[in-house]
Subunit: 336 residues, 2 copies
DNA sequence: TTGTATGCGTTATCAT
DNA sequence: ATGATAACGCATACAA
């Protein structure tokens, strides 16, 4: 590896001069700056990251903790995040966290990271507190934790759930079901309570046997849907905790020979790209993942710049996206 | 941040003793090792990555260059890669490379990376040569470059294309089309030439107006399919360069009111998870992404251990996965 | 078994 | 405008 000393030797100056020249600091004559730049180019010199980090105590690397990327939700959150970090001059290190393979704090605390974004944290998690204890800047994205002072970016999930309830009520559904996310995530919980509230306001009952808490996965949505539809009195509408669950639901419905938006109503949540594919065209709630990602990134960079100062909490607005998987209950239409 | 010096002070030993004790090196009495471990725990000590890297000249970070993760192909390649690297004691840094935002070599050469995996390299790319020139260990995964000596893991794409051609011939198709990948990728090229060869062996013509080179994306597959089917004599079968293109094709077909596997045959390639969803059930060729990922990771780690030694080239075998999107041409069945 | 001393490549302070 | 020098936190060769 070629170092700044090599460049210094070739350019006939001191190492410290090289460092300043290449960083564009003032107090260097144009002549020597040019010499140094030429020398650096000849040697294909690239400053050592480790050396710089050791000296500056900063790495310009952000850790993003998320579940596995094969769940199509995460790429859509993580990709704009990466892009925003890049604009801000940071790199992103993806750190997986799953229930099978839970993340230990040490992986975040070896000084590799200038900051951390948590996207998968469960309600009782100690991770945020541990990060706070070690004074590692972090931001909660798409998740909240009760009783913690921390920068947070979330959708108004409760409102989102309510919006869906209103839609189903307006359509005339009475036998509704819900495949919510896990109960130990704020997203799963809040979308569920909002949905519940919205339904009661419209005097619609949500029977316990028609409510499920499941992982945010295709297969969970598929399986739960099959089971819900096997009941003596199957629901005429299913609210899914996110689009990925809804994909499972749509596929399950299709495998039964039914058509979403005709025989049954399926509502998703998040509005990820795939939900607009012709074969799905899922009616859903926009989760503004891009806005979430970008705000989280900016919040974190600001927190790194000024570690003290009151935590900020950004709430994004949900928005109903009407597509092709909602309709009045079939019975009602037949009667008409 | 707490350093090994802090631990040393608290444990009443020297810094070097701490370093050795915590790494489990021999030549430390059990008594002091215990003291040191306790001290380290009390202080929540985690060794600094930058310090270690600077000293050892190794970072245990691997860079994986790929396209954007919102293309569902990449998570399925990248996720098992990450898992394998983790088993091998390495971390993975995702480095995006797109035509809009091409990767500069310096991002790979700042010493942050012990090695690199290239998954998106185009045929004329200089990147591999530049990496070789700087002696940065690297492996080509899912891509090859003509005339370069480098560790490589690829599928036998040409054979894969041939297999598809045989299938279409056996089914009796005569008007076939292909939406191949980009012509400047080995994957796009080899699957195409294999397909061509297979067809000529069976005396089936592949008309130029029925062959397209497109990006490996949903929207490209969608658009190309619409256009191909708008011809005066539309094809009865479309070979897609990968499953993502095939998703676009299936959705396009659906939007025209046709059913894949009934009105038209759609063949994919790679066998990513989604291709087995009920709504798709795409007949495809297994690309063994997991095998590719794991072999690439292992090859790279071996290369890092011994930088010299002949490059290895691993070729994985394609395998036809018969599902629901293939059928004899409709005309033939109507005649029967 | 333990300690001392040095170097890794950078940034940053202090002279000149 | 430039150079000498001291950290940064670790690993490691050498001494004791």
């Amino acid at each position: 590896m070629t170092t700044s000393h090599d460049v210094a030797k070739l350019a006939g100056v001191s190492q410290s001069t090289v460092s300043r020249a290449l960083r564009g600091l003032p107090g260097i004559s144009e002549k020597t700056r040019l010499q140094i730049q030429r020398a650096a180019e000849m040697l294909a010199y690239v400053p050592s990251d480790a050396g710089r980090s050791l000296s500056t105590k900063r790495t310009r690397v952000i850790g993003v903790v998320s579940a596995e990327l094969t769940n199509p939700f995460f790429p859509e959150l993580v990709e704009p995040m990466r892009a925003e970090f890049e604009r801000l001059g940071y790199r992103m290190l993806l750190i997986p966290d799953s229930s099978e393979n839970p993340l230990e704090i040490d992986r975040l605390a070896d000084g590799t990271l200038d900051g951390v974004i948590l996207t998968t944290v469960v309600l009782g998690s100690q991770l945020p507190h541990r990060l706070a204890a070690r004074k590692i800047p972090f931001v909660l994205a798409n998740r909240e934790i009760d009783g913690i002072q921390a920068d947070t970016v979330v959708l108004d999930n409760q409102l989102g759930g309510k919006i869906v309830a209103s839609l189903l009520a307006d359509l005339g559904h009475e036998k509704v079901a819900a495949i919510l996310g896990p109960a130990d995530t704020s997203v799963g919980r809040d979308r569920g309570t909002g949905f519940q509230q919205g339904l009661s306001e419209r005097r619609i009952a949500l029977l316990p046997e028609r409510v499920r808490n499941e992982p945010f996965t295709y297969s969970a949505g598929h399986k739960a849907t099959i089971e819900l539809l096997a009941a003596a009195e199957p629901p005429t509408a299913i609210f899914c905790g996110n689009d990925v669950i809804a994909f499972g639901a749509c596929n399950a419905v299709a495998s039964l020979g039914l058509i979403p938006g005709h025989d049954i109503t399926i509502i998703g949540f998040d509005n990820i790209e795939m939900s607009d594919w012709d074969l799905f065209r899922i009616t859903t709630v926009n989760g503004d993942l891009k806005g979430m990602a970008e705000n989280a990134a900016r919040l974190l960079i600001r927190r790194i710049a000024s570690p003290d100062g009151a935590p900020e909490r950004i709430t994004l607005e949900p928005e109903l996206i009407l597509r092709a998987t909602h309709a009045p209950p079939l019975g009602m239409r037949l009667r008409a």
